[in-house]
């Protein structure tokens, strides 16, 4: 029975080719530093999953944001676990993505023909920082509020267009309900969509070029 279903699906999907191209690629002799890209991907999926579950109770409004998170932490079964994973996973993801970038830099893996992989990776790093920046405001406690005040001020000191950048980030002159809802929108829709798309490009390029081998004595 299952064999029949599998055969039917395999004929149409082609699991063999999928397996060969996605998972059974030839790899150069590497080490644990080569696993950081997969670790980043794993953390992205983890953050996505826990983030989706957090939106079940979280409310992006100044009146309810703080209270709804208190409720997640104390009122809902395993709410502390879901938010805890999202909270610590966020810091870990920034760290892992950054070390992944350092590894690529030090092993010179960004060179021909992988320059585009590096550029896309740099964008992925910036988007990861953007996720951290926008997510930090969402608890809407004192620390979140003032961190956002200070960080958006940084945008405000750009010569000439600083004031415009500040207002565009905050959705007005002050950090307000508009700031919270646009940060929320960026955090759960825009940035993740951009991340997911660029991760696709990043992975495609890795499959196309294969992983870089470490230089040996002949190089």
């Amino acid at each position: 029975m299952f064999k029949k279903i599998y055969a039917w699906l395999d004929e149409r999907v082609g699991f063999d080719g999928l397996y060969k191209n996605l998972l059974d690629r030839p790899e150069p002799h590497g080490n644990w530093w080569n696993t950081l890209g997969s670790a980043s991907l794993f953390l992205f999926i983890m953050q996505g999953a826990t983030g989706i579950f957090l939106t079940v109770y979280y409310t992006p409004s100044p009146d309810h944001a703080y209270d709804s998170i208190q409720y997640i932490m104390n009122g809902v079964a395993f709410g502390w676990l879901i938010r805890g994973i999202h909270h610590w996973g966020a810091s870990l993801m920034v760290l892992i993505v950054f070390i992944h970038m350092l590894r690529t830099f030090f092993s010179a893996s960004y060179k021909y023909p992988r320059e585009l992989t590096w550029i896309v990776g740099s964008l992925l790093f910036l988007l990861t920082l953007g996720m951290g920046f926008t997510g930090y405001l969402l608890p809407f406690n004192q620390r979140a509020y003032w961190a956002t005040v200070v960080a958006t001020e940084i945008g405000g000191v750009v010569p000439g267009i600083g004031d415009f950048i500040l207002k565009a980030l905050r959705g007005g002159t002050d950090v307000s309900a508009l700031t919270l809802s646009r940060f929320f929108s960026a955090h759960i829709w825009m940035l993740p969509a951009a991340l997911a798309g660029l991760i696709g490009v990043h992975l495609y390029l890795i499959m196309r070029h294969g992983e870089s081998a470490y230089p040996d004595q002949d190089d």
């Binding site: 579950f53 409310t59 709804s68 409720y71 079964a77 879901i82």
Partner: protein, 161 residues
């Protein structure tokens, strides 16, 4: 024989990967289910004896209205709901406490002294002084509250749901 009972490095990695994924999936998946269905498992009990003041305040023979509020907390939101009803004191201690909530569509009924009945303003329904349906669409008589008298004070028993 010795060779066949040993598993290859490749198979070992496969088994370990599948086992670890399953453990992690379960460690996350089971709490997530609890997290999602949690509000459905909570029991909200709001039973209470509501004090309505001294018994002397309620005259004999004619229904007198009363009202009270109850607050309920859903998640992080507190809602205050108003409730009302009528006390009909038939004798010194024989009391009838009726809810003013019409059993048709929850409008508030009023006591009509002249016609000696409760009238619902929404669909012109009428209830007798005992709460029984006289005419109109209501499917059931007015709800009754349990009453008790303690040290000359009247209490009604409130339960929701």
């Amino acid at each position: 024989m010795a060779g066949s009972s040993r598993i290859s490095r490749r198979d070992f990695v496969k088994v370990v990967t599948i086992a670890l994924s399953s453990v992690m999936g379960a460690a996350l998946g089971i709490p997530v289910i609890g997290y999602l269905i949690d509000p459905a498992l909570k029991v909200q009990s709001s039973e209470a004896w509501i004090p309505l003041g001294p018994l002397e305040n309620f005259p004999l023979g004619s229904p007198k209205s009363f009202s009270f509020t109850r607050s309920s907390v859903n998640g992080w939101e507190k809602t205050v709901n108003s409730y009302g009803g009528f006390i009909l004191r038939k004798t010194e201690t024989d009391l009838l406490a009726l809810s003013s909530r019409c059993t048709h569509l929850s409008c508030s009924v009023n006591w009509d002294e002249g016609n000696n009945n409760y009238a619902c303003p929404c669909h012109a329904a009428h209830f007798g002084s005992e709460g029984e349906v006289l005419d109109g669409p209501p499917p059931a008589p007015l709800d009754r509250y349990e009453t008790k008298i303690e040290e000359g004070n009247l209490f009604i028993f409130f339960q929701k749901g």
